[in-house]
């Protein structure tokens, strides 16, 4: 995960300050979560505008309910839990089938420290990963992100998704298999 978004042990304190109505604390919390939340919600909601709406509602719920954080999980798990509920509500309200995720068209930027060839290669890998991910189910995309990008322990993922820990392990196992299959499939179509 990007170090910019790395949570630390001060997050509960930051949230406690938000609970006291400190808007600057909320602004710090917002900026440390907006991108993560948006990307996470986008694994569930395909429509970009709807994803933004869910993120906005989630952060307002955090502002209003910061005092109810029970310290039984990481702050990130709590916030992602709110976002997940709101995303699923939004999907139900919109009645749309979430079949495709708009992860395309974002992999063209070269990494600033890469050799030009390395940058090209990185972009190709990123594009293939995006295409392969887009072929997975929302559940598989979601859990791969929670494990490998949000770096959540399986116990917290179990709480967040409301499923047994064994199901978490099984779901990751098969999500990884499906992603590997899809990578091979799209790699054949578009060799690196």
């Amino acid at each position: 995960m990007d170090a910019t978004y790395q949570s630390d042990g001060s997050e509960p304190d930051l949230l406690a300050t938000v609970a006291m109505g400190d808007q600057s604390a909320f602004e710090r919390l917002y900026h440390s979560y907006e991108k993560r939340l948006y990307q996470y919600v986008s694994t569930l909601v395909s429509d970009a505008a709807l994803a933004e709406e869910v993120v906005g509602d989630t952060m307002l719920a955090v502002w209003r309910g910061a005092g109810t954080f029970a310290h039984t999980s990481r702050v990130s798990t709590w916030i992602f839990g709110i976002a997940r509920h709101k995303a699923l509500d939004a999907i139900r309200r919109s009645g749309r089938r979430q079949r495709e995720v708009d992860l395309e068209g974002t992999g063209e930027l070269p990494h600033p420290h890469d050799h030009p060839d390395a940058g090209v290669l990185r972009n190709q890998v990123t594009r293939l990963t995006q295409r392969a991910l887009a072929c997975l189910t929302p559940e598989h995309r979601e859990i791969l992100r929670l494990v490998f990008y949000e770096e959540l322990p399986y116990e917290e993922i179990s709480v967040l998704l409301g499923i047994p820990t064994n199901t978490v392990k099984t779901r990751v196992y098969y999500a990884k298999q499906r992603l590997k299959e899809q990578l091979e499939r799209v790699g054949q179509k578009e060799p690196i």
């Binding site: 109505g21 948006y38 990307q39 993120v55 005092g67 992860l103």
Partner: protein, 225 residues
């Protein structure tokens, strides 16, 4: 989604933990277990390498995925600012003491003390069962009978038997009275008998009956308390 309920047969149990070994969130004991397994399992080492590569690819990809628009941030901040500050502070205070109360109530529901209470109840129950099951000591029996006989002392009678009465006849009579020989014979040939509790009329009737047994009883008298 149609994932099988379990990981495929033949896959090592440690393989299910490899994603969290890769993201560094396993508990120490699980981490040690996986590390020991990896030393001897080439398949799982290969799987771990794939997961590490996948993690790198996902990180690289998500870093390039854009976040929400700046408009969203402005909108959220405006809505937050629009909520009255004083109310928010009050809310914070209310939330604080309500939260404390809530935490206290929740702590009562957290069953940390249940095992202790269960053990105390079990021990108490066992002690009670042992106490009830133990035979009563002799002195208790004597004392309880003494207590019972306190009221029957009025029912003690003194009997004088005919010289011709045999021991067997005396015992038979006492047994027939449902009484107990508590004293005698005295040098004067008197026997004191304790009788079950009964009212005065029954006692008088009994004495009258005894005094008609001239073949056996010379005299029967009630001992007044």
């Amino acid at each position: 989604m149609t994932d099988p309920e379990n990981i495929a047969d033949g896959v090592h149990p440690e393989a299910a933990l490899l994603p969290w070994y890769a993201n560094g969130t396993l508990r120490d004991d699980e981490r040690g277990q996986v590390a020991r397994h990896l030393e001897s399992c080439e398949d799982c080492r290969h799987e771990l390498n794939e997961l590490a590569q996948l993690k790198g690819n996902l990180n690289a990809m998500y870093q390039q995925v854009p976040g929400p628009s700046a408009r969203l941030a402005r909108s959220v901040m405006a809505r937050v600012a629009a909520e009255p500050r004083t109310r928010q502070n009050q809310k914070g205070r209310d939330t604080s003491w309500l939260s404390d109360l809530d935490q206290w109530c929740r702590s009562l529901l957290i069953p940390q003390w249940v095992p202790t209470l269960a053990i105390v109840l079990l021990v108490t129950q066992m002690v009670l069962l042992l106490w009830v099951g133990l035979p009563l000591p002799e002195r208790d029996e004597v004392s309880s009978r003494s207590i019972g006989m306190e009221t029957t002392q009025a029912m003690q009678i003194v009997l004088a038997f005919q010289p011709s009465a045999t021991e067997e006849q005396i015992r038979s009579l006492v047994s027939g009275l449902h009484g107990r020989l508590v004293d005698g014979p005295t040098p004067a040939g008197l026997y004191t008998i304790r009788l079950p509790r009964q009212d005065a009329a029954a006692a008088d009737q009994l004495l009258a009956q005894l005094n008609t047994r001239h073949d056996l009883v010379r005299s029967a008298e009630l001992i007044k308390p």
